[in-house]
Amino acid sequence: MPELTAVYDLIARLLPFECMQMRFMQQALTGLLLLAPMVALMGVHVVNFRMAFFADAISHSAFAGVALGLILTVSPRWTMPVFGLLVGLAIVAAQRRSALSTDTVIGVFFSGAVAFGLAVVSRESSAARDIQRFLYGDILTITADDIRAMLALLAGLTVFQVYGYNRMLYIGLSPSVAKAHGVRAAAYQYIYAGLLSCVVIFSVQAVGVLLVTAMLIVPAAAARNFARSAGAMMWWALLVSTTSTIAGLLISAQEWARTATGACVILAAFSWFMLSWAFACMRCRAPGSRQ
């Protein structure tokens, strides 16, 4: 992959830190930089429409995906995204047909997937290593294939968001009004759920299942405090997620830190959030702003 090598070299030149001269660090940063815009774009809708629990369910289904890989003796690299995608689409389908509340539908799928994963993994002692990776994530072992897959996902996701960002806002505010006004709500909901599932699965590899929801909601939540409009919110989310991933990776590689990358990324995003909160509080107190 000559083009990827060029990217790595560029990173090494732009970030002249000692740690960034290593190839695996360059790969990790490339992966995170691809992930950042995806979580920013998807996170805006997750936060505005309270889909955090949905993201949680998908991330935990990755666990069942790993288990499925063990049974079928297929690499979890394949079973995780496929299974996550299926769970995501199944949740949307059940939601659309069932009279149960969204939370209940998701909770049912969530627990089913986790129980299945636990049942299979408990039989295999060799699966412990996979579980570790699943819980904490491991961006440093990202491969060139992963990066290529993420590039493709980012391309598809960008097309979808450029085409459908406004319609997604519409559907999120009121599916019935959007539908009555001629928006094909079902198609958007399925495509969004599918893309979100893929993003979540890649995020599991980067930051681990414990922090994957944070990856989606913290930058968007901070953006929401900064932004005055739905358009600006996307730019703020992009800024927060991109800077957090870079800062998180750099900090985690420092001699004095030596911490898990995923955790550092989320801590950086969390700092952004606290800043945005202070900002929002100050704006609220400012007289005459009823924005």
């Binding site: 505005n48 429409f49 309270r50 009279a99 968001q161 450029v162 085409y163 960002y165 406004n166 319609r167 806002l169 519409y170 505010l173 009121s174 019935s176 009004v177 959007a178 539908k179 009555a180 006004h181 001629g182 928006v183 929401r224 932004a227 005055r228 409009s229 739905a230 358009g231 600006a232 919110m233 996307m234 730019w235 009823r290 924005q291």
Partner: protein
């Protein structure tokens, strides 16, 4: 433009519509007509299936029977504008009134701003519902009455042939509701759409509706408000006598309702 109330032409025809949710029959063999250009009100007690009737029309609930919507004069499918009872949304969400108005028209994502022609159009529609200068307000900061009017502006942006409203003025005080209905009467005459609404409020219905469907799972009565909203009918539907809307209490002569439909009817009734 002349008022087309009580026209012989039909905007929507419900034919033997039956709907059930979770085993409970909500609508039972409902056959009713919405005349073209009318202001049709569906009235009835709680649980009568009023909202379900609208949702069936919008394709949101499954039903048996038929809902016939004849195509417009130009032969295209009928355009529907829908104003829900209340929009449940996160009030802290950063979405401006301007963005709310254009999100259904503009394809280009809102991160790149709002195109000038859509901006102009949104301003016109907001002026239409008397909300000039609110474009930059966040929708979470709107009052209940303002939000209903923004929703109305959004629906009007569709240039609807049929405006469907579910208790459009619920949560708005009496004064606000009156203004809302007067505004609708004016707009309906200007733009010539058919209005179909669910309402709890019988005085409002008697003032503004030109056609009434009394619903209690089945259609109990249907026709012009003066003929339908009689003491006997209301007792039969609501179970107790609603002295408030005794037919003698209907506005004779000049009422506070300025609608041509309303005053016109009074002239030859």
């Amino acid at each position: 433009m002349t008022c087309a109330c009580d026209s012989d032409r039909t905007a929507v025809m419900f034919e033997n519509v039956t709907a059930a949710l979770g085993g409970t029959v909500i609508l039972e063999g409902v056959t009713a007509r919405v005349p073209l250009g009318s202001c049709t009100a569906i009235v009835g007690p709680n649980g009568a299936g009023k909202t379900t009737m609208l949702l069936a029309l919008l394709g949101e609930v499954p039903f048996t029977g038929g809902i016939r919507i004849p195509p417009s004069d130009e032969g295209r499918a009928l355009r529907i504008g829908y104003v829900p009872q209340r929009l449940q949304f996160d009030r802290a969400m950063p979405l401006t009134v301007m963005e709310f108005m254009v999100m259904g028209w503009q394809r280009r994502p809102l991160w790149f701003g709002v195109a000038r022609r859509y901006r102009e159009r949104a301003r016109q529609l907001l002026a239409c519902v008397k909300l000039e200068g609110l474009e930059r307000r966040k929708i979470g900061a709107l009052s209940g009455g303002e939000m209903q009017r923004v929703l109305l502006a959004l629906a009007l942006g569709r240039e609807p042939d049929l405006l469907v409203m579910d208790e459009p003025a619920s949560g708005v005080d009496f004064q606000g509701e009156h203004i809302f209905c007067e505004l609708l009467d004016v707009l309906r005459r200007e733009q010539g759409f058919t209005q179909l609404m669910v309402s709890h409020d019988l005085p409002t219905v008697t003032h503004h509706a030109t056609h009434v469907i009394c619903l209690n799972r089945k259609v109990a009565a249907e026709g012009p408000p003066r003929e339908v909203l009689t003491a006997e009918n209301l007792t039969a539907i609501f179970g107790l006598h609603m002295g408030l809307v005794d037919s003698s209490a209907l506005p004779d002569g000049k009422s506070s309702c300025s609608s041509a439909c309303c005053t016109g009817r009074d002239g030859h009734a």
